[in-house]
């Protein structure tokens, strides 16, 4: 546990040692605000909830989370520090989990900094804060799932741009797994059972379920398993590819 914390601390500090953190947070907050107030018509709707705010999170994450995830391992490989990190007396999973948690915590900080939106809606009306809390939780979990995918793809290449683009594509497919765009394509070649299974993998459906305010254990397990699976895959990929 203390090893995970050591890796976590170093990694999180490294975000704030470069402009990456500040650029990310400012852009995230600006876009989240713009989407909510201009495209989401927050005021015009006249309802005291944060639906227009949370509705855009999946799309915001689609581009911003891969930008955080892309450097997780490709930078370590490119600079050679992976050799340093993995010859310290820490295990592979401690390194993978420590780095992942740092990136996730960083996105969590950005998400927490959207609190003025919450204050605004409470000032204007009396929203159901339970639903808002659930939505924040769902949003955070979804960000973690995106990030875990990013971690794995970042482990595949030492080129951050490649990692970014591939992560966006994979995340996009997972986002829309429950929608005709993906399902129609699969149903051409796969049996109905597989099509149903894939539709169950959609980030959007699970996020929407939590964002309604219903924290279903199945949705939580879904995100936890997704994160665990992609982190496990990250460790496998790092092990396979560290030689080159």
């Amino acid at each position: 546990m203390s090893n995970i914390y050591t890796v976590f601390k170093r990694e999180l500090a490294s975000y704030f040692a470069t402009p990456v953190a500040y650029v990310f947070i400012v852009i995230f907050l600006l876009l989240a605000g713009a989407f909510t107030f201009y495209i989401g018509n927050f005021y015009e709707r006249g309802q005291a909830d944060l639906l227009p705010f949370f509705n855009f999170h999946p799309w915001l994450y689609l581009f911003l989370v891969p930008a955080v995830g892309m450097r997780l391992w490709s930078e370590e490989r490119k600079s050679g520090t992976i050799e340093l990190l993995l010859t310290l007396p820490i295990t592979m999973w401690q390194a993978v989990v420590g780095k992942f948690f740092a990136a996730w915590a960083f996105i969590g900080i950005a998400l927490a900094l959207t609190f003025p939106v919450w204050i605004t809606v409470n000032y204007l009306g009396s929203p159901d804060n339970g639903v808002i809390f659930a939505s924040y939780l769902g949003s955070f979990l979804m960000a973690g799932a995106f990030l875990a995918i990013g971690s794995c793809i970042s482990a595949c290449t030492r080129n951050q741009v490649v990692a970014f683009i591939l992560t966006v594509v994979v995340c996009f497919l997972f986002l829309l797994a429950g929608y005709p765009l993906v399902l129609n394509a699969i149903s051409v070649v796969a049996p109905q059972g597989l099509v149903d299974a894939v539709s169950g993998l959609s980030f959007l459906t699970h996020f929407a379920a939590i964002a309604k305010g219903v924290i279903d254990v199945r949705d939580l397990i879904y995100f936890a398993l997704t994160i665990a699976f992609w982190l496990y895959a990250s460790a496998v990929v790092i092990d396979l590819k560290k030689a080159d």
Binding site: N3, K9, P89
Partner: protein, 317 residues
């Protein structure tokens, strides 16, 4: 103590390291010599626990590097090739991170970090981010992280690469100072370094060990071992004298350094007879020197082609 048995690494068709077996005891400094791409770094990466061997095994202080990886990593300090470090961190933060990851806690950590800062003269760059440091300082930071936990075993992949002569001298002194109670492997392609720090040298090429001996023994393999070289103004007279000594096998003249070298027949000593004959003939020499052997020539002979193979056979026999 480091021990490898038939250690091998294959990448598909390519065999980078091919059945390397050796043992290094505490107090020894083993120099790993070889041309680029010989398999030096790959061998070190396997011992450090970064790469898994395709075949064979390695152990550090009795801990197998695969089966008991964490225990092996704990007793080992490793400087990877190129001394990579986290560029955005300050020197101090980086050393503290490594010390913490190595399980050094509290006041002891502060003291250990202070100790390596002292040893590698890092005082002036403590608050600077590592990416802004010069190559020499980066290398020293890399060395500092390798020794911050005072490991019993040190693996240094080209520790003096990119350093200026003064820094090289300091790093060699540092290695010599630590050599007494530690097991150290140093890879290098600087031959003078082997003489300066190593008690033993392994020459490796194409993934195989071609020679395993002390630096002095390696020098003795040179055709220049026990050779006599001199400079003189009376070139013709000196040449004549050298050719008259019975045990001289050949005489060479280097037009650049204006140096005459007499190479002895194997196992013969020619210094005394040459010196006497020069005196009796009244030929004045500016300088008369007995050579111990030329490392670069031995290195070339061993690592090049067929002759190398012969020596490998000889080493195995």
């Amino acid at each position: 103590m480091i021990e490898t048995r038939q250690l091998s690494k294959r990448y598909g068709e390519l065999t980078a390291v091919d059945g390397i077996t050796f043992k290094v005891e505490a107090g020894q400094v083993l120099g790993f010599l070889g041309p680029n791409g010989a398999g030096k770094s790959t061998t070190m990466k396997m011992i450090a626990g970064f790469l898994a061997p395709s075949a064979g095994s390695a152990s550090v202080c009795g801990h197998d590097v695969v089966a008991d990886a964490l225990a092996a990593k704990r007793v080992m300090g490793y400087l990877p090739e190129g001394a990579p470090s986290y560029g955005e961190m300050t020197t101090r933060a980086f050393l503290h991170f490594v010390a913490e990851a190595r399980g050094i806690r509290g006041a002891q950590r502060a003291q250990r970090v202070e100790d390596v800062i002292e040893r590698l003269h890092l005082h002036n760059v403590l608050e600077q981010s590592i990416e802004t440091l010069s190559k020499g300082f980066k290398r020293r930071v890399g060395l500092a992280q390798a020794i911050v936990h005072d490991p019993a075993v040190l693996i240094l992949d080209e520790p003096t690469d990119g350093l200026d002569p003064n820094q090289k001298f300091e790093v060699r002194n540092l290695i010599n100072a630590m050599a007494k109670d530690k097991t150290i492997i140093v890879s290098t392609h600087i031959l003078e370094e082997v003489q300066a720090v190593c008690t033993r040298a392994i020459i490796i090429a194409r993934g195989k060990i071609l020679a395993d001996a002390t630096p002095a023994e390696l020098e003795a393999r040179s055709r220049y071992h026990q050779a006599v070289s001199l400079t003189t103004t009376n070139l013709a007279g000196a040449k004549d004298v050298l050719s008259r000594v019975a045990d001289v096998a050949a005489v060479e003249y280097d037009t650049v350094t204006r140096r005459l070298t007499a190479i002895p027949k194997p196992g013969r000593e020619i210094f005394a007879p040459i010196s006497e004959l020069l005196k009796s003939q009244g030929i004045a020499v500016n300088e008369l020197q007995l050579e111990s052997g030329r490392m670069d020539e031995v290195f070339r002979t061993i690592t090049h082609g067929d002759l190398g193979e012969d020596l490998a056979e000889e080493a195995r026999a």
